[in-house]
Amino acid sequence: MGGADVEAVWRIESARIVAALTRFTGDFELAEDAAQEAVAEALVSWPLASPANPAGWLMATARRRAIDAIRRRTALQDRYALLAARAAVDEEIDPDRIDDDVLALMFVSCHPVLSPEARVALTLRVVGGLSSEEIARAFLVPVSTVQARITRGKKTIAAAGVPFELPSAAERRERLSGVLSVIYVIFTEGSTATSGDRLLRPDLAYEAIRLARTLAALQPAEPEVHGLLALCELTAARFPARTGQDGSPILLEDQDRRRWDISAIRRGLAALARASARGLGPYGLQAAIAATHASAPSVEATDWDRIVVLYEALGRIAPSPVVELNRAVAVAMASGPAQALAIVDELIAADRLPGSHLVPTVRGELLARLGRRSEARAELELAARLCPNRRERSVLLRKAAALS
């Protein structure tokens, strides 16, 4: 077995091993370090001799490394004696406990004491089983940066005395929404890369979907978990049609809808149905908007009135300038560009999205539709100057040039 095989087993086992070890030692940092040592050992020894039970090998080795680490801490002698006694009976992961432990691991990795970057890095590494190198590649940052985020994150968890347990009933809703937002951030970075040459990073979006599926399996009664999963599936369903062969973005109205992933749409709609149990939350509403697009044969035949209503609902429960801007786009489609322009101009007057390329992008489009060509061109050129993604920037400049 080679490095790729070790990676594959680790992908499947990381969350369960780190969760079980954290439960076992009460120390997240120690558990994660011990697990990483086991992976490093596997990379050396598996190519020479494949273990009969790779998952069991990793768990047993990680457990030994954890006990070694505890043994080195002389002050914890008593604890070591306790562990040594339990080691014999605890070889297997307890199936009744492991689901809660994996869930607790997600809550720890997304804990509010952590910086947003550390939450993303820890979740992908510990729950997702990605290496620091893979995370660094996905986010276009140096490996040392990811390693520093993970190390600092683990120290923060220890310093803050974050317990390894499920959040109390009182704080559960808020903590769950914290976990959802980490998954959403990962997905968003995959579906609209904020920087760099590529518009899409499907590998990163995939990690988010995988995490959302795990969370949906562990928290099946939480509608917003299904809402987020539905949003991710329905958005990712359009990936195959969203870029041309040269990687340039293709706008919704120009996409070949036959290239949308029908299986992903069906999974998204099924998740959306589960999300609708008690009225849709913010993720569920966004998923419902994506579902309206997914079930329309063309831009013209899209139920834009429904999309306007959904954005209005979203704006009430999760107000944000980006939602307002999207509502303006939907209003333009449902009722015409003049009404939409009024919404955008209000946003600008209130200076609610300063420095964003999205406002001039939308305003430019609306002005173009109203026949105000030179104003439209100026807006699109401004948008191109503000846009951080090279692919999107060239589309904006092309549109601006077409208006001269």
């Binding site: 095989d5 594959a8 599926r213 399996a217 999974r267």
Partner: protein
């Protein structure tokens, strides 16, 4: 990301072995499916009925010819599948190794190309 189909291929002997302890096999399969769901990798799983109950539609002639019964002389008949959404071929293989399969059966691991890999239709 890569999707893989794990195709279960059983022989008469492995099917007989499976039927001999069908309750245990069903329970093990149920546990395995749950594990894949919780790992976020399972897209679909189905088992097929007795091939003798099936039919074959043959397009060799001018019109499709239908015969009742199993497909050809194949020794290892397609008995069911798992569709996985995994990070790599190695991960698909790792899951395949964990399938509670009857002795003598085989699992074929095949990649399912994404719709973005299918050549575009030019009209």
């Amino acid at each position: 990301m890569p999707k893989y189909l794990l195709i279960m291929r059983g022989t008469d002997e492995s099917n007989a072995a499976m039927m001999a302890d069908i309750d245990e096999m069903m329970a093990a399969t149920h546990r395995f499916i749950e594990e894949m769901v919780k790992a976020g990798v399972l897209l679909a799983a189905e088992g097929l009925d007795d091939p003798g109950q099936g039919a074959v539609v043959d397009f060799g002639g001018e019109v499709p010819v239908v015969t009742d019964g199993p497909y050809g002389e194949t020794k290892e008949l397609f008995g069911g599948f798992f569709m996985l959404d995994v990070a790599s071929k190695q991960e698909a293989i790792e899951w395949a190794k964990r399938v509670p399969a009857a002795p003598g059966s085989k699992i074929e691991v095949r990649r399912v190309p994404g719709s973005d890999e299918v050549p575009q239709v030019h009209e």
